[in-house]
């Protein structure tokens, strides 16, 4: 079964690009601008929990780090690897403090993203 990745970004362009890229790489992708969706994630969520979450930091009114912190605090979601992305250079340090598993600065290279995702999922599986 394909691994499932949830992508949350407020920019449709990024969502489209990542969805295309990840689908092409053989992942099942759920891409959304809806932050609440991520916040409400639990075992009973339709379609099950994702294997990895790609989370943008600044989400037009919401701080991705807050979302990350909540997910990492909840029992159901705390073991899901979260890869945070941002164009903001200072983000790298701050995302570690909220428990993000990795960080990529925009603009990123497709192959680098895929490499990181693969690594994180493998690690979570073990």
């Amino acid at each position: 079964m394909n691994k499932k990745i949830l992508v949350i970004d407020d920019d449709e362009g990024i969502l489209d690009a990542l969805q295309l890229m990840l689908t092409g790489a053989g992942y099942d992708v759920e891409a959304t601008v809806n932050v609440e969706y991520a916040e409400k994630l639990n075992k009973k969520t339709n379609g099950g929990l994702p294997d990895l979450i790609i989370l943008d930091m600044l989400l037009s009114g919401k701080d991705g780090r807050e979302v990350c912190k909540k997910l990492k605090e909840k029992k159901d979601t705390k073991s899901i690897p979260i890869l945070m992305i941002s164009a903001h250079p200072k983000a790298q340090n701050s995302v570690k403090n909220v428990g993000a598993d990795d960080f990529l600065q925009k603009p990123f290279d497709m192959y680098e993203v895929l490499r990181v995702i693969e690594k994180k999922i493998k690690k979570a599986d073990q």
Partner: protein, 630 residues
């Protein structure tokens, strides 16, 4: 001391005696007359036309030391001082020619003891008087008086000479206001002579009325020594055509000279010429006014304080900013006019300037009613003639708005580069997906185009990164993560990644550094990329770039050499400045923001290293940077 009648010592001449014996009625009267003569302090002598004494009253002894007996028979003329003798003889002959006439002479007569006695002698020709038949000489000792008169005369000469020679202009006037005398200093001061004042009456001088000093002048004429305040007097108004002196600033003292009775004999006016002083004062006033005007129109806050911190000059902007008038602050310290907090703040740098004697430039934030203001301030010492510091001057320019505008600009650059990154991110991904798809297809030409797009997208990303770095440097948010790294390894990695771009130049690496340095891998890599990319960019017609590393005891030195267009001398210092691009036809054809070297130099500076260039136009450039081990 009065003489008593001494019949023995004095006797009347026989002619007179003969008469008295005949006229009895006169005897009593003669007795009185005789007593009068013999008791008088004045001496009386009767002299015959040849000058021989035929009678002398007892007082002669008191005056000339001779008893009357001794004196009688002497030739009076021979006792007169030789120098006075001819004059005496002249007078004597004059009265001899005219019976009843008289003459008065003041002559020196020899005392019995040999000294000279001044006598005043009044001679009367009574030769034809049957009762006398002699020349009657009535004389008295005036030595004392003469000595006194001499003293007075000398003192008078001294006084006149003194006035004449005095450097103070002196004018002596009659009590009615007519000028009696002026000295040389006066003539020089006013450019006029005494003769030219013959129609001038000081008490009628309209100019003195206009200048408001007539009351002072009158006070002097009325007997009271008075100081007359300084005025600008124009002599040509008073004595037209007499002088070429246009005006003089003078102050004066006027005082009366009174006689023993207290009557005013003369009025003395002494001028002090203060023209030069006044001109200097006027110039000083003008220059102070100019300075104040310039200072007042300045948008900067300007002040001068003495070494005790007391203000003695502030400008209008100071008054406005600190809401205090110059009259209120003059002579006061910061602690007397401002809250302690503000005073502490303001005086902090003053002491340092005084201590070091050197100008101090700094940026400071001062609390104001509408919030904190940023000032760029320079404080510097003022030195007196002897080279001692006597004051501290401060000039502070409010750069709050400029600063805010710069911050807004930097914020804008920061936001803009963030915003630009998002679309680039998706474009890059789409492009890479496209590239991936094409790799498995047959259209290799299309693949090539897409690969070129990728290169361009990467360039765009780098440019945006540079912009963001710039904003970070400006806002002080340029942070580093230093680690111990091998500079040679970093050079190799960088060169490998750059070589992928397939440039026509070969990058030759000559490394020989063993020791590791504390540095930010990403940032130093950025410097290397920047220098090598520039080397590639600016040497399109050469085939190699040399990257070399060296170490000494203190530091690592990395150099990047190209054989390209080179940099003109005058631009070599400026190329590390923000937004600087070398001007010139050729240079303009190369792309770039003028940020790369600025960012590189900031990175090197924050590693406590140095960055510089050696270059010759047309031959190429070598960029160097150092990173110290400690």
């Amino acid at each position: 001391m009065g003489n008593k009648i001494k019949d023995k010592n004095g006797s009347l001449p026989s002619a007179l005696a003969a008469k008295t014996s005949v006229e009895k009625a006169l005897q009593e009267s003669e007795k009185h007359f005789r007593a009068l003569i013999e008791n008088s302090t004045d001496a009386i002598a009767l002299i015959n036309p040849l000058g021989k004494v035929i009678y002398a009253s007892p007082s002669v002894q008191k005056i000339l030391g001779y008893t009357p007996e001794e004196f009688i028979g002497k030739n009076g003329l021979m006792l007169v001082h030789p120098q006075d003798r001819s004059m005496t003889m002249r007078e004597l002959s004059r009265i001899l020619l005219k019976p009843g006439s008289n003459a008065t002479v003041e002559v020196r007569v020899k005392h019995k003891n040999g000294s000279w006695v001044f006598v005043e002698s009044r001679g009367m020709n009574l030769l034809l008087d049957p009762n006398v038949r002699a020349i009657v000489s009535n004389f008295r000792d005036i030595t004392e008086r003469r000595l006194m008169e001499d003293k007075v005369r000398i003192s008078e000469i001294r006084y006149r000479t003194m006035i004449e020679q005095s450097p103070m202009s002196t004018q002596i006037l009659s009590p009615s206001g007519i000028t009696l005398m002026v000295n040389r200093a006066w003539e020089k001061l006013w450019g006029a002579k005494l003769e030219q004042l013959k129609d001038y009456n000081m008490l009628k001088d309209k100019q003195l009325v206009e200048l408001g000093i007539m009351p002072y002048v009158k006070k002097g004429f009325n007997g009271e020594p008075t100081h007359i305040p300084a005025v600008r007097y124009e002599p040509s108004k008073t004595v037209p055509n007499a002088t070429k002196v246009p005006y003089r600033w003078v102050s004066a003292i006027i005082y009366p000279v009174k006689d023993d009775e207290g009557d005013i004999q003369e009025v003395v006016l002494i001028h002090e010429d203060i023209t030069k002083q006044k001109i200097a004062e006027e110039k000083l006033r003008q220059s102070e006014q100019q300075l104040q005007a310039i200072l007042d129109e300045s948008p900067a806050v300007i002040f001068v304080k003495d070494l005790e911190g007391r203000y003695f000059l502030i400008n209008r902007q100071f008054e406005k900013i600190f809401n205090i008038s110059r009259s209120k602050i003059k002579g006061k310290t910061d602690y007397e006019v401002f809250p302690k907090e503000t005073a502490d703040h303001v005086t902090r740098h003053d002491r340092r300037v005084v201590k070091t004697g050197k100008p101090l430039e700094f940026e400071e934030v001062v609390p104001h009613k509408d919030g904190p203001h940023t000032y760029i301030s320079v404080k510097f010492p003022l030195y007196d003639e002897s080279g001692m510091i006597y004051a501290v001057c401060g000039i502070a320019t409010d750069i709050t708005e400029r600063k805010q505008a710069e911050e807004r600009k930097d914020d804008f650059i920061s936001v803009a580069s963030h915003e630009l990154r998002t679309p680039i991110t998706s474009i890059k991904i789409f492009n890479q997906i496209l590239e991936q798809r094409l790799k498995s297809g047959k259209d290799k030409k299309l693949l090539e185009h897409v690969e070129k797009m990728d290169v361009q997208i990467n360039k765009l990303s780098v440019l945006i990164s540079d912009l963001l770095d710039l904003a970070r440097i400006r806002s002080g948010k340029f942070k580093f993560r230093k680690e111990l790294l091998s500079i040679d390894d970093l050079i190799k990695e960088t060169v490998v990644s750059l070589a992928e771009a397939e440039t026509k130049q070969t990058i030759i690496v000559k490394g020989q550094v063993m020791k590791k340095v504390q540095a930010d891998r990403y940032r130093i890599g950025q410097v290397l990329i920047n220098l090598i990319s520039n080397a590639i960019k600016y040497s399109p017609n050469s085939d190699r770039i040399v990257v070399q590393s060296k170490q000494d005891t203190e530091k690592v030195t990395v150099s990047v050499t190209d054989f390209g267009i080179g940099i003109p001398k005058k631009a070599q210092d400026k190329i590390f400045e923000r937004f600087f691009r070398v001007e010139g036809k050729e240079e303009k054809t190369y792309p770039g923001f003028g940020i790369g070297l600025y960012v590189s130099s900031e990175i090197v500076k924050r590693h406590n290293g140095k960055i510089w260039v050696e270059s010759e136009k047309g031959k190429g450039s070598t960029f160097y940077f150092t990173i110290p081990f400690k």
